[in-house]
Amino acid sequence: MVVGDISTGTDVLVIGAGPGGYVAAIRAGQLDLDVTLVEKDAYGGTCLNYGCIPSKAMITASDLAHEAGHAEEMGIYADPEVEMDEMVGWKDGVVDQLTGGVEKLAKANGVELMEGRAEFAGEDKARIVHGGEGQGSETVEFEHAIVSTGSRPIEVPGFDFGDDPVLDSRQALALDEVPESLVIVGAGYIGMELAGVFAKLGTDVTVVEMLDSVLPGYEDDLARPVKKKAEELGIDFHFGEAASGWEESGGGITVRTENEDGEVSEFGAEKVLVAVGREPVTDTLELDNAGVETDEDGFIPTDDRARTNVEHIHAIGDVTGEPMLAHVASKEGQVAAEVIAGEPSALDYQAVPAAVFTDPEIGTVGMTEAEAEEQGFEPAVGEFPFNASGRALTTGHAEGFVRIVADEPSGFLLGAQIVGPEASELIAEMGLAIEMGATLEDVAATIHTHPTLSEAVMEAAENALGHAIHTLNR
């Protein structure tokens, strides 16, 4: 690597190689643009290295260990032992395989890779500060830039991620021993996914949450089966409690929380995981130099072509705000690249699916019944409970239900909410149905394989139409 300040040029400079940035770069490369992708840490970003992938790997592995030890009902007797360092090592192997793949694919699509931290030096140039001591920096001039610098966990005052017993999700996914006990601050999806992992590995888990339920933002009846299962796993919940500090005590720590009335509670544990939300990584970008505006929380507002207020600078992914999801980042990345290449591309999707990989899983797409009403539709709603699904019963996981929301007069699908086995996969069919402008009848009339969980989707549509076979119709 060259030391000192040299200067190069590119059609498209992509800053940050998460699922937003690397997809944008690959797509730009496919469209024959000259593209440079700069990353300061690791290809694949939060998602592949510290988020989606590691968490899902640990969820599968902890599930298997737990299930095998709790299948006496099926005549299976086992007492699995878990070597945490090996489990984490396996997870790291999965991550390496995927991040290596990203690097290869970027190169194969003609993307120029650059290591370093980018900051804007003007409307059409950026300085790339290289990592190591004395590695210097270089300046890249660009026609277009795509900002995809992602997000990082919010720190709660009093809980410094630099202190050993205080963990963020990334650190929690890299422990080499199963903690005996853990306080988790925040019952959002990250907190709840990790609560499940550790409870299944044998940790004594306490969750404290400022609001009054698990998975705030999800409908009550979707969150309920998740809370119920978590309680069966021995997870202890305390709602209406804001974490206010911690201190060492004995071999471990004591976490202090405060409720609305100022009453203080204390929870002892070996470690504390803070998962209360994520904030954009925009502070070190020198956005001012390029004239790019942010909102009061630091997020970058964009239009339906993923453009910032500066026409030739796009922003995508977590840095643009909710929904902060990998697949949204990737879609925005694809659109940004296509728009730059002059294609008539736009963020015109009808619905964004989302999944929570708790036990049971949650999958949602489009509108809830209440949202449909607010927007002036007359919703027709159909449900199917998994305990009436043959396939669900044969897997031993029959909690939860599929709910489907449509516009009654026209039959057009508007949304679906699923809690139960494989909800994250089942939601895919509903997403396609909504994008296609499918009606309840279309879904109900489509033959679904027996015995599968996806039959539940068809049955929910039939239920909304008033002629379900395997449930009584409302």
């Binding site: 728009v339 002059g342 294609e343 008539p344 591309s345 736009a346 015109d348 999707y349 009808q350 449909a372 927007q375 002036g376 539709f377 516009d407 007069p409 026209s410 039959g411 057009f412 508007l414 994008e435 296609m436 402008g437 499918a438 009606t439 009848e441 279309d442 009339a445 489509t446």
Partner: protein, 98 residues
């Protein structure tokens, strides 16, 4: 065709039809749908473009309207609108798996 549902002027059309609308500079919200329940098909969009007047400057500002030639005809018996909704006479069962 019936009215498209009224909720906030939402348009029910497949992604491919929506892309063609952008490509041809057609305001898809103003296209009358001939699909089931008034769903807007790609054919509807192309027809609207041909009959003109639907172009909205906004949708075309940077979209080179070099549409691929309308593919129009589709192989054999398949039509985009031949969804299960049209449960009338005719076709026998689809190709059965082995």
């Amino acid at each position: 065709a019936e009215e498209v549902s009224t909720g906030e002027g939402r348009v029910f059309a497949a992604p491919s039809a929506r892309r063609v609308a952008r490509e041809l500079g057609v305001d898809i919200a103003a296209v009358e749908g001939t699909g089931p329940s008034g769903r807007v098909t790609e054919q509807d969009v192309r027809q609207a473009a041909e009959s003109g007047g639907e172009a909205s400057g906004d949708a075309t500002d940077e979209a080179p309207a070099e549409a691929e030639a309308p593919t129009g005809e589709v192989g054999a018996t398949r039509e985009q609108d031949a969804q299960p909704t049209t449960a009338t006479a005719g076709a026998t069962g689809g190709p059965a798996p082995e």
